[in-house]
Subunit: 333 residues, 2 copies
């Protein structure tokens, strides 16, 4: 297959390919060392077709970005993959991925290396997003930073002393499962009162559904006019700002508990920067201003001296660019 | 002064001197590379006499352990100091120490180096205790570990990838100021609902005093027979076990919130080991068993796979041995 690659009009320089493997989409980007995306494509994952089909699809997307970009294969220095689930970055194995059926113990690095004959690096998707913001985004040059991915769930990436921190079993960074209220609602992780249960999109929606049921039950009639399935997160935040009693307190809780979570991170880890990415971060200042207000009123003075809490600036490309940048991580150290 | 040191009967090998500078006591130990304490002395700090007197006292204690041990000065490879307050380990400066009047911007490493002509290392006292358990204690050989110092306050040391993690402003590890209840009582740090307000000796005592006042006010008479000032922490835990209504719930809270705090650490940082040291850790299994039960029922499965929660085994010497071991940290890396 390698021989199929168009070899005329070749571009020189150092390039890397990043893959953001999600439950619904595969994003693939060809990136240079300055973080310029030379080519980007997105395909449906069709995860239900099984592991082998998805792996072939990944290979195809890699061939596509190479072909479209007309970069000489010799100038592709590596490939990085971000995967939503527990992995071992050192040995390049995906242990499992809840949204990707069949992905259990997959030696993805070896599989892709065998096809393209370049080094392949693996990371958890939240770590990849953090690394993207660290190498190419808002946290460029920052040694100690924490990235929160605020979406359907809440994940996180911890960058300590300029490196991704993995923990003992490569599982560190589960910011969504920091307990913010020990008597809070049950969480998918088996615990309860986790940040994710309050401040993720799923947490917010679930709490609105629960409250709606309670209100309807207690009044004996269907007073709720909220059609939760057709309401975007942006709509929910807007309704809260307009004072809708059914969502206001829940959104207030979401923001305040996110403040609690970040205060915990700040007092514990003394980062220079906390970066918010993901769908909920699209709320921008509506989210950032009250969260900062909470953290700056509650965290220790010494931790606040040189702290920045900011939105990421790579948006939905953080993961794919971070995956591409895994190569430079290795080369630098 | 160096010439005053007794030079007969000299011991050879590599030795280090550790100093645990506290608000009330200065502990000084001469330790070999295997972690055997060859000499140990403890003096009152008399901190109110001021910085210069205390610095001289530190020098005297160093001379004393050297003289008593009869170790050849050439075999003393370094000195380490643990200080209760914000410091910069890199440049060897104590920024401040709440319990040591006058200790502001003190270049303690340079001062001690000028006297003894060996490398001098500085750490925050909680980091020193963590390092002691890591190099000589229960966490020997463990790369990712977290040490909680449970005493008057609650501090912590974070060991990531085999090194002390300092954070951006050398302030990381304030485990006592992890928020465990956002609506909880005010904390000395300026925040509220911190772990320290529930699970430190001061937190437990303050809450008992508050509850006693409330009970006495509401009944209009002094039903409380607790003389809090003359009650040891061990007495308080014992009374709780016996069912004393005035302390039972408060001790239960202290243990449960400690469980919350450790669950937060475990889900966030995926350590291999969590080590409990300090006065409250002397409760042993009475503390350890319920705390482990909480964490193992609430933390994520993947984080629990290879997790140990244990008591430190250096007891009150963790800090002084960790200070001594700072030398080997530097030599090893």
């Amino acid at each position: 297959m390698v021989s199929n690659i168009i070899r005329n009009q070749e571009k020189t320089g150092k390039f890397s390919i990043g893959i953001d493997l999600g439950g619904t989409k595969i994003g693939t980007a060809l990136v240079n060392g300055e973080g310029d995306i030379k080519e980007y494509i997105k395909h449906p994952t069709n995860a239900q077709q099984g592991k082998d089909v998805v792996i072939n699809r990944i290979k195809q997307t890699i061939y596509q970005v190479i072909n479209k970009s007309r970069v000489n294969l010799d100038n592709i220095k590596g490939i990085g993959i971000g995967v939503p689930g527990p992995i071992d970055a050192r040995i390049g194995i995906v242990y499992s991925a809840p949204n990707l059926p069949g992905w259990e113990g997959v030696p993805i690095c070896r599989i892709i290396e065998n096809e393209f004959r370049v080094p392949v690096f693996l990371e958890n998707d939240a770590n990849a997003a953090a690394w993207g913001e660290k190498i190419f985004g808002v946290a460029k040059g920052v040694k100690d930073m924490i990235c929160l991915t605020l979406g359907t769930g809440i994940g996180g990436g911890l960058i300590f002393d300029g490196k991704i921190y993995h923990g003992n079993k490569f599982a560190a960074g589960e910011i969504g499962h920091v307990i913010v209220n020990k008597d809070g609602p049950a969480c998918n992780c088996g615990g309860s009162g986790c940040l994710e249960a309050y401040s993720s999109a799923t947490g917010i929606r679930d709490r609105i559904v629960d409250l709606t049921k309670k209100v309807n039950n207690s009044t004996g009639e269907n007073i709720s006019k909220i059609d939760i399935d057709n309401l975007s997160l942006a709509d929910i935040f807007k309704r809260a700002r307009q004072g809708d009693p059914l969502v206001k307190d829940i959104v207030t809780d979401a923001i305040e508990y996110l403040g609690v979570g970040i205060t915990i991170l700040v007092n514990l880890l003394n980062p220079k920067m906390v970066v918010l990415v993901g769908g909920i971060a699209n709320e921008g200042d509506n989210l950032l201003i009250p969260v900062k207000k909470f953290v700056f009123s509650r965290a220790m003075k010494i931790m606040l001296e040189d702290l920045q809490i900011v939105l990421g600036n790579l948006r939905e490309k953080a993961g794919v660019m971070g995956a591409a940048a895994l190569l430079w991580h290795i080369e630098e150290t």
